[in-house]
Symmetry: C2
Subunit: 524 residues, 2 copies
Amino acid sequence: MDKLSTSETLTLERRNSPFSISIMDLFVNGKDWVNKRNFAHDFVTRESETFGMRDVYFMDREQILEKLFKQEKRLSQLVQNGELTHEDVLAITYIQDFSGPFRLHTSAFIPTLEKQANDAQKIAFLEPARNYRIIGCYAQTEIGHGSNVRGLETTATFIPETDEFEINSPTITSSKWWIGSLGIAATHACVMAQLIVNGKKYGIFPLVVPIRSLHDHKPLPGVHVGDIGPKMGFNAVDNGFVNFDHVRVPRFNLLQRYINVDRDGTVTRPQNIDPRVTYSSMVFLRVGIVNSMGKELAKAVTIAARYAAVRRQFGDSNDANSNQETQILNYPIVQYRLIPLIAKTYAMLAMSHEFYKQYQICKDEMEGGDFSKLKEIHAVSCGLKKWCTDTTIYGVDTCRHLCGGHGFSEFSGLNSSFSNLYPNIIWEGDNFVLAQQTARYILKSAHSFLESVANGSNIRSPNGNDPTNDVFNRYPNNFDSVKFYPWTQKSSSEIASNPTILIELLAYRFSSIAFDLTDRHYSK
Amino acid sequence: MDKLSTSETLTLERRNSPFSISIMDLFVNGKDWVNKRNFAHDFVTRESETFGMRDVYFMDREQILEKLFKQEKRLSQLVQNGELTHEDVLAITYIQDFSGPFRLHTSAFIPTLEKQANDAQKIAFLEPARNYRIIGCYAQTEIGHGSNVRGLETTATFIPETDEFEINSPTITSSKWWIGSLGIAATHACVMAQLIVNGKKYGIFPLVVPIRSLHDHKPLPGVHVGDIGPKMGFNAVDNGFVNFDHVRVPRFNLLQRYINVDRDGTVTRPQNIDPRVTYSSMVFLRVGIVNSMGKELAKAVTIAARYAAVRRQFGDSNDANSNQETQILNYPIVQYRLIPLIAKTYAMLAMSHEFYKQYQICKDEMEGGDFSKLKEIHAVSCGLKKWCTDTTIYGVDTCRHLCGGHGFSEFSGLNSSFSNLYPNIIWEGDNFVLAQQTARYILKSAHSFLESVANGSNIRSPNGNDPTNDVFNRYPNNFDSVKFYPWTQKSSSEIASNPTILIELLAYRFSSIAFDLTDRHYSK
Ligand SMILES: Cc1cc2nc3c(=O)[nH]c(=O)nc-3n(C[C@H](O)[C@H](O)[C@H](O)COP(=O)(O)OP(=O)(O)OC[C@H]3O[C@@H](n4cnc5c(N)ncnc54)[C@H](O)[C@@H]3O)c2cc1C
Ligand SMILES: Cc1cc2nc3c(=O)[nH]c(=O)nc-3n(C[C@H](O)[C@H](O)[C@H](O)COP(=O)(O)OP(=O)(O)OC[C@H]3O[C@@H](n4cnc5c(N)ncnc54)[C@H](O)[C@@H]3O)c2cc1C
């Protein structure tokens, strides 16, 4: 037998698949996304001179930034001409897989304005932002405070004499740091600051603060701004620092959807807005992360599976007809590393659709004033954000190691993927901080379930608004007295092939671990 | 109470230490190394214009290479003047912590010549290499073969007519790839090739092959050589590729310590050399890796512990006198991540001294012709290489994540550490391949122990040459019948505080798992 070429090997492997890849694609990704993705792919291929990324490997940072600025410019022009929609741009950005200096403008500055600006502010800030006449960033984190947002030290003090706010960050620890799009690109920042009116502190609120001149892009007076320097990844994003030396902005610049300061310094909060909506926008950001992780892991397992199929190493003692070495995919120790990751990819993709649906329902209900699902969605979003980002990032690492030396080359695509995804375990709630929040929610729920059972007041949640409580009801803390469970007297293969029973088992496991921990925690 | 400054916090923390740091330093590292390290530190500080590394963060690859070439040049001059010894240079390189384009010249080309060249070859190649008149690399891996060294395709064919070897690598898969110091620096390569004499294949042997002209550094005829491009880390090392189009070298260039080809093509292997010594040089390289890992992890846990001590986040509800936030080091979830790593660092450092001693004994015995310890040392070196590199590399990652956002900055030092250490899980035996070797050794040993017990022939190893067999003898496969173990009727705190019992427990665990696996494996 002649040796098989790489493409012959791949053809054979693909022929082994018992399902149609394109039907699976539609099933997993949905027709809309498949169309969008194909459209984006065609666009990038057609405009490959601007959008082709083959040459970035050998470019320095400045060259890459220049290339990305050109891409952004082209896209914004096409949007303004009406040739592309905003969704088209997102799809193109997605398949480009390369964050640039406008990333936070699009992903944080604009969404914050959409959510927190009033109508006049939308005209003043959102419209020019959408037309790239101003470029913004989201400036929350300071050197001294990341996870503990309440500890932020930058102040915004109302100055009645001039009807302005004065932004001040006099210390090193109060300097904004890590702010994407700020280092080079931003003309404006949405600054999270301690609001002080008439000597009273009102908490952290967002203000739009001009950073650089719209004429010559020089920092404005009192603004000390720059790039924070080289990072593990994400180097085409210009994370920056800024501190403010008594910088004044008009009172108008405080985003007014959730708070209002009058000309005379009266502070009001709109009545028809529940303060919990702020909380819900954190959930929104995490839903976005959770949604993207499955697609990211899918890229990595595709690279690794393909490589493991064509890479041959050591002799094939099982196949006398072959004069070729064994495909490494056939080694158990390779399968052990790769195949569970492929399964997790599918699980993550499927879950993300369902979770997004749940989130939409919760959001719609909140708009009608019903916040009953928010707590649960929040706890789940914390847990999923941690699990999905950990699984994806360390999954990408497993794929990289699987490729041996070639995984270490930038050309594998797995190194930039690992480094650029990495901050997802840090931002929008550090994973360890989030894990504690989910754990706390579960313990509290289990504890109050037990208490309500003890005093006879427990009921199952009426509209499925408290699925955690429902699980506790299904598997209450009476495991010793139950004689028959859905899996009782079933063989392990019967159980393994029955999804309903598997879910029941998971619920049982969840409940029993939760009660066990609750017991230990509250008896301390 | 006033807020503590960073240095005040650190002073307080350090005061908490119940032992003297400098005595611990001497105990862990030994006086020789402490002196060498301090010497190196002074040297680098004194010559900071050349050796200071503060500015590398903002340099591009070319600038870094230039800087490193300057350092190498200065060091080589000082060695040639007799102002520095080879050991001094190693210490300086160690604290510089930055591999450059001469790394493989020093760490692979020279050692290979020391071990495998005969006296005439030492004069021809080793002396000019030591004086930097030629720069070499170690060219083993090819595109098609890494782990499977026997599969290498580059050939070295004896040409009787001209008394030469012809080096040939006609295909993509036979191209050498990944070769450090080859991309830019090397003038010579130690090429591992299939030796063919009179049509007969003799296996893989090393030949010295000139790569670039000593006059203008241009590639020599028939040599196609270059840099393999950007990598996850290690970018100041010029990993390169080369393929050979019928390149001729004198017969003399085959390294002759372990093989000899006569003028007339007669192949002989020296009688007083056991072929297993080749095998022992793989062990040597792994011993080196194992030895360095503890020191590398020590750097990372030092950075993380220090940062966790000075980083404060969220309120301190336990301390009413404090107006400061809690040091993150005080959070259990931070301790849970960091403290076991500190313990592992100490364990690794201590182990590495002991393991090196064992290796030296084994080596000395081999020089006297006694190879009885080699098998065990080989299996242990595989297992330790895997464990130490995994623990260190993912430990560095844990330290990085512990530092929150600031871990993601290059200035944390943890990203370059992670990326540069990473190839240790790939080279000198991929970790998964090595794990299988250790596992195989243990299963084989357990199996033959059981067989020898069954036929009454088992004895404990006479000079401690087979410690694995000794452990099996101590805890043979009779667990059901034993009534009394050293830990029987002891409390867990008695056991935990008694190192002798802990080691016995480990031996018990090792033995029982090994027999269990053996049983399952051989009964298949
Ligand atoms: C690439 C990148 C881009 C970013 N872009 C932006 C941006 O555009 N705008 C912006 O505002 N910010 C941005 N950030 C900042 C990011 O939001 C913060 O890094 C993040 O909030 C974590 O805060 P920190 O870095 O201060 O870590 P810290 O909060 O100091 O955490 C350090 C460590 O302490 C632990 N810890 C903290 N609190 C607790 C606790 N209560 N219990 C137990 N353990 C605890 C954490 O687990 C972590 O290991 C970015 C960060 C990165 C890395
Ligand atoms: C930074 C760097 C520097 C290097 N420098 C040099 C150098 O100077 N000189 C030099 O000669 N080489 C060098 N190398 C090459 C290095 O030695 C090889 O990468 C290494 O031997 C692994 O080989 P491979 O990359 O071909 O991986 P492969 O052998 O192809 O392994 C790929 C995957 O298959 C798995 N696998 C392979 N065989 C088996 C098996 N039998 N059973 C189960 N699983 C298996 C592995 O676990 C791995 O996950 C360098 C590599 C790197 C990354």
